[in-house]
Amino acid sequence: MAKIIKLDDKGVEFLEKIMELSGEIITLCDQCGTCSGGCPFITEMDVNPSQIMRQVMLGQKNIMDSKTMWICASCFTCTVRCPRDLDVSKVSEALRQVKLREAIDFIDIEEISDEEAKKLPSIAIVGAFRKFTG
């Protein structure tokens, strides 16, 4: 017998926010796991990308505490492989943006030693700060 899952208002609001920001119809996700299977960062993640899709679909805002969205480096491997043509990297970006727009940065420039900063190519530094700070 079919079971209907009802999201509460806050759950619906969260799902809609992420769908609007990412531009992806997250509810189309079939949970096939292709994104997780090909993700080069999977061993670093606490929640895998397909689980992220599922939890966002169910409006579970506690997914914001996962470190997965910060580990995703927008390499677009999942993007080119999703059989439903969903862009999971855009979903990660949307989740990061929700946090960054609350003025909560993920990194602090003070934590990078002068020695490292001198060695690093500028694209690394600019890239990290564009992804990790609001």
Partner: protein, 292 residues
């Protein structure tokens, strides 16, 4: 052929070896890369959320410069903007595609930049030097080879930004061939491997270098397993993560066998027998002795 060229920050700082060698190689192939007048940062990484128009302004400003170069006659009827750095290529191209697809977005950005005399009309085409060379035909490349790279086995490393997402990829996202074809045209042998488009860890090198060390080590060891002598790349960030981070791998494991990482343009330069100093080896961390 005179084409507007966008260098980007890193090619002027820690990847001057990439710029020097690429400009020289392009010149020999008849491609004159004319640096954009007053270029500005591309943004490095593309913003992927829907309401981020402001973040696309920097790329668009560079496209305006291309139109102006055509207007002032610096280039003639050349709407292509050539890039070398894979990240610049990806970021500029993604912004351009968004502008071309959404006239409303373009209008808003043009309105916002009301002080710019020229309005961006969506006409620019962002290209990478590799397909530009491919268009000349591999035979044309082979003709310039003075020192065929016989017996050198090269791992073609694409990374992410040249191939994905599909609308900006220079080749098939899962089965690219362009670097293999280039390697063959230079007389070298391209190895067959699985890590050619696997992420190196990108900007995590700033705050979480262990991720990069693990990924880079995996890529280098895969190249080694498949018989490669060197790895070639087109991305200054991949180059840093694969090349300089070998020092960090060595600190963890002194038994680790290093591998030289060179830009594709340096490899072409060696095959063309271009003077060593013109190919800029100053930032290659692991010395590519095998090429000399």
């Amino acid at each position: 052929m005179k084409v507007p060229y966008f260098p980007g920050c890193t090619l002027k700082t820690t990847a001057t070896n990439f710029e020097t060698s690429a400009i020289e190689v392009a010149k020999q192939l008849g491609i004159e890369m004319v640096e954009l007048d007053r270029w500005n940062c591309c943004g490095v990484v593309s913003y992927l959320v829907s309401d981020d128009l402001m973040k696309h302004m920097a790329p668009v400003r560079n496209f305006i410069r291309v139109q102006e170069m055509n207007k002032t006659g610096v280039v003639e009827n050349e709407n292509r903007l050539v890039t070398l750095c894979s990240m610049c290529y990806n970021t500029l191209n993604l912004s351009n595609k968004r502008m071309q697809k959404n006239p409303d977005d373009l209008q808003k950005i043009n309105d916002f930049m009301h002080r710019e005399e020229t309005k961006y009309d969506g006409s620019v085409e962002v290209v990478h030097l590799l397909p530009l060379i491919q268009d000349l035909g591999w035979e044309a490349v082979s003709k310039h080879v003075k020192k065929p790279l016989n017996n050198i086995k090269v791992a073609p490393y694409y990374g992410c930004m040249l191939l994905r997402p599909k609308n900006v990829g220079i080749d098939d996202a899962e089965d690219p061939k362009i670097l293999q074809e280039l390697i063959s045209a230079l007389g070298a042998e391209a190895i067959d491997w699985d890590s050619g488009s696997r992420c190196c860890g990108s900007y995590h090198t700033v705050n979480n270098k262990d991720i990069v060390i693990n990924l880079s080590r995996g890529i280098i060891e895969d190249a080694r397993r498949n018989g490669a002598d060197i790895i070639i790349t087109s991305c200054p960030l991949c180059a840093f993560n694969l090349d300089n981070r070998q020092q960090d791998i060595l600190e963890k494991d002194p038994e680790f066998e290093t591998m030289p990482i060179v830009y594709f343009s340096q490899l072409i330069g060696v095959a063309f027998a271009i003077d060593k100093e013109k190919l800029g080896w100053e930032f290659n961390h692991i010395s590519p002795d095998i090429l000399f």
